[in-house]
C-alpha cells in the first residue's frame, strides 16, 4: 500500500519541522494560554460583578466570540490589529504587525472567551460563604478575589482549563490560513515542495496525536488526584 511512497522526506525535514514549526506552535500556544487565562478571568469577574456596565460588555464579548468561527476571527484580527495599533499610538497609517504578534493577539482574544466561561463556572463553584467570610474579615474585593476565591476556582477548574489548552494547541494549526510557518505550515511547505503530501500529512497527524493524547492522559490522571484530595 505504501510502496510508492518516500518516508525519507520526513527524516530530511525533521530539523526544519521542529526547530521552526513546532517552536512557533508551542510558543504561540503558551503565550495565548497565559494571555487568554488572564483576560478570560477578568472577563469572568466582569460578568459576575454587580455592575451592569461591566456585566453587559463582557457578556456580549464572550457570546460574540463564541458564535463566530475561529477562521473568521483570525482574518478579522489580521486586518484589524494594524488599524487598532495605529489608533493606539496615534499614527496616520495602519502600522505593521508581524504574523507572530497578530496570531498571539488573535488567539489570546479568542480563547479568552472560552477560558472566561470556564472561570465563571470556577468562581461560582466556590461557596458564597467564603466571599462573605472574606468581607467579614475586612478584606476588600481584590483581596477576597485574589486570596480566597480565585485560588480555589483555579484549582477546581484546572483539568478543564488544561483540556481547553489542548484544544488551543490543536487550533493553532489554523494559522495556516495566514501562510504562517507553524508545525503544520512547515510540513505543508515541504509537502508541496517535494510533492510528498501523503507522507508529510500522515506524519503531522501522528505527531499531533501523540502530543495531544499524552497531554489528555496526564489531565485525566490529574483530575483523579484532585478528586481524591477533595
Amino acid at each position: 500500500m505504501f510502496s510508492g511512497f518516500d518516508f525519507d522526506v520526513i527524516g530530511r525535514s525533521l530539523p526544519y519541522l521542529f526547530r521552526e514549526g513546532m517552536t512557533f506552535t508551542l510558543t504561540l500556544t503558551a503565550m495565548a494560554m497565559a494571555g487568554g487565562i488572564v483576560f478570560g478571568t477578568l472577563l469572568a469577574m466582569m460578568r459576575l460583578s454587580r455592575y451592569r456596565v461591566l456585566q453587559i460588555p463582557a457578556g456580549a464579548y464572550v457570546n460574540l466570540m463564541r458564535s463566530v468561527p475561529l477562521v473568521l476571527v483570525i482574518f478579522w484580527f489580521y486586518f484589524l490589529v494594524p488599524y487598532i495599533g495605529a489608533w493606539a499610538i496615534g499614527a496616520k497609517q495602519p502600522i505593521q504587525v508581524g504574523a507572530f504578534w497578530s496570531s498571539v493577539i488573535t488567539f489570546t482574544m479568542f480563547e479568552a472567551a472560552y477560558y472566561a466561561e470556564i472561570m465563571r463556572a470556577g468562581i461560582q463553584s466556590v461557596p458564597r460563604g467564603q466571599v462573605w467570610a472574606g468581607y467579614a474579615l475586612g478584606l476588600n474585593y481584590w483581596q477576597t478575589m485574589g486570596q480566597v476565591v480565585l485560588p480555589q476556582a483555579f484549582r477546581n477548574m484546572l483539568p478543564v482549563l488544561l483540556t481547553q489548552t489542548i484544544i488551543l494547541f490543536q487550533d493553532t494549526s489554523l494559522v495556516y490560513v495566514l501562510s504562517i510557518t507553524d508545525f503544520l505550515g512547515a510540513a505543508a511547505k515541504v509537502a508541496q515542495r517535494d510533492g510528498r503530501l501523503v507522507e508529510m500529512y500522515l506524519f503531522v497527524a501522528v505527531v499531533y496525536f501523540i502530543i495531544s493524547f499524552s497531554l489528555s492522559a496526564t489531565v485525566k490522571r490529574l483530575q483523579q488526584r484532585i478528586a481524591i484530595v477533595r
Binding site: M1, L64, S67, V68, P69, L70, V71, L72, F75, W76, F79, L80, Y83, A86, W87, K92, Q93, P94, Y114, E117, I118, A121, G122, M157, V160, L161, T163, Q164, I166, I167, Q170, D171, S173, L174, Y176, V177, L184, A188, L197, V198, Y201, L202, V204, A205, Y208, F209, S212, F213, S216
Partner: protein, 252 residues
C-alpha cells in the same frame, strides 16, 4: 484611522457577473449550512452508535469505541481535513481514488469536508452520549433487565430516551460547532461563508464591511439554532424528569 467605509458595497456587482456581493455571501451561507447539515447526519448516526456501544458490558467493543473517540479528538480538525482531501484518495484503490479526485469542483471539496466534519463531530457526540447514559442511575438498566427486557430493548425503551433528552443542551453546542467548524473547509477549497467574505474583501477592498456581514450572519444563525433547540427541548420534555445541570466543558 484612514479607512473609507462603504456600506453600499453589498449591492455592487461582484466581478464574476453573478450579481451583487450580497448574493455571494448568501450563496456562501448556503454551502456552510449544506455542509454542516449533511455532516450533522453522519455525526449523530455514528456518534449515537459509538457512544451507546461504549456503555455496553462488552469490553472489546468499549475499547474499540474509546480508540475511535481518541483518534478523532486528538488530531486537529485542519489536519483531518487534509487527510480526507489529500491523503485518502492516494491510499484508496486507484479507481476509487481517481474518482474522488475527478469530481466536479464544488463537490470535490464538499464531500471530503462533509465526511471530515461528520467523523470529527461524531467522536464528540459519542462522548456526550456515553456521558448521558452513564449519568442515569444504574438501577434504571438493572430494572429494565429485571422486568425481562433484552439489552437492546433496555437501551431502546429505557436508557436512550432519557439519555438523549439529558444531552440535548450539549448537542446544541455541538451543532453550533459543526456550523462554525465548516469554515475550516475553506482550506480545501470549499467556498462557504467565510471564504466568500474573504473573496469579497480581496475583490472589493472593503475588509471590515465583508467581515462584519459574515459575523452578523453567523450570529443570526447561532440565535436561530439556540431558539430552535430550546423549542425542541420544551417539546420533548417529560414532566417531572429533572434535566441535568451542565458541568463546564472545554470545547469550541
Amino acid at each position: 484611522m484612514q479607512y473609507t467605509w462603504n456600506w453600499n458595497v453589498f449591492w455592487q456587482a461582484a466581478p464574476d457577473g453573478s450579481g451583487a456581493y450580497l448574493g455571494w455571501l448568501i450563496a456562501g451561507l448556503g454551502w456552510t449550512l449544506g455542509a454542516a447539515l449533511s455532516a450533522w447526519i453522519i455525526a449523530l448516526a455514528l456518534g449515537a452508535t459509538v457512544g451507546t456501544l461504549r456503555t455496553t458490558p462488552m469490553t472489546w467493543v468499549v475499547r474499540l469505541g474509546n480508540a475511535y473517540v481518541e483518534l478523532f479528538r486528538n488530531i486537529p480538525l485542519l489536519v483531518q481535513m487534509f487527510l480526507w482531501y489529500f491523503v485518502l484518495p492516494e491510499l484508496l484503490p486507484n479507481a476509487l481514488g481517481d474518482a474522488m479526485k475527478q469530481m466536479v469542483p464544488p463537490w470535490a471539496s464538499f464531500w471530503p469536508a462533509v465526511l471530515c466534519l461528520g467523523f470529527y463531530t461524531s467522536a464528540r457526540v459519542a462522548e456526550q452520549v456515553r456521558a448521558g447514559i452513564q449519568s442515569l442511575p444504574r438501577g434504571q438498566g438493572m430494572a429494565a433487565t429485571a422486568v425481562g427486557l433484552t439489552l437492546p430493548q433496555a437501551y431502546r425503551y429505557v436508557l436512550l430516551p432519557q439519555a438523549l433528552r439529558i444531552i440535548l443542551p450539549p448537542l446544541t453546542s455541538e451543532f453550533m460547532n459543526i456550523i462554525k467548524n465548516s469554515s475550516v473547509a475553506l482550506t480545501i477549497g470549499l467556498v462557504e461563508l467565510t471564504a466568500r467574505a474573504r473573496a469579497m474583501q480581496e475583490f472589493s477592498f472593503q475588509v471590515f464591511e465583508a467581515f462584519t456581514a459574515a459575523t452578523v450572519i453567523y450570529v443570526l444563525v447561532t440565535l436561530v439554532v439556540v431558539f430552535g433547540m430550546r423549542y425542541l427541548e420544551r417539546r420533548v420534555a417529560v414532566p417531572g424528569l429533572i434535566s441535568a445541570g451542565g458541568a463546564p466543558m472545554a470545547g469550541h
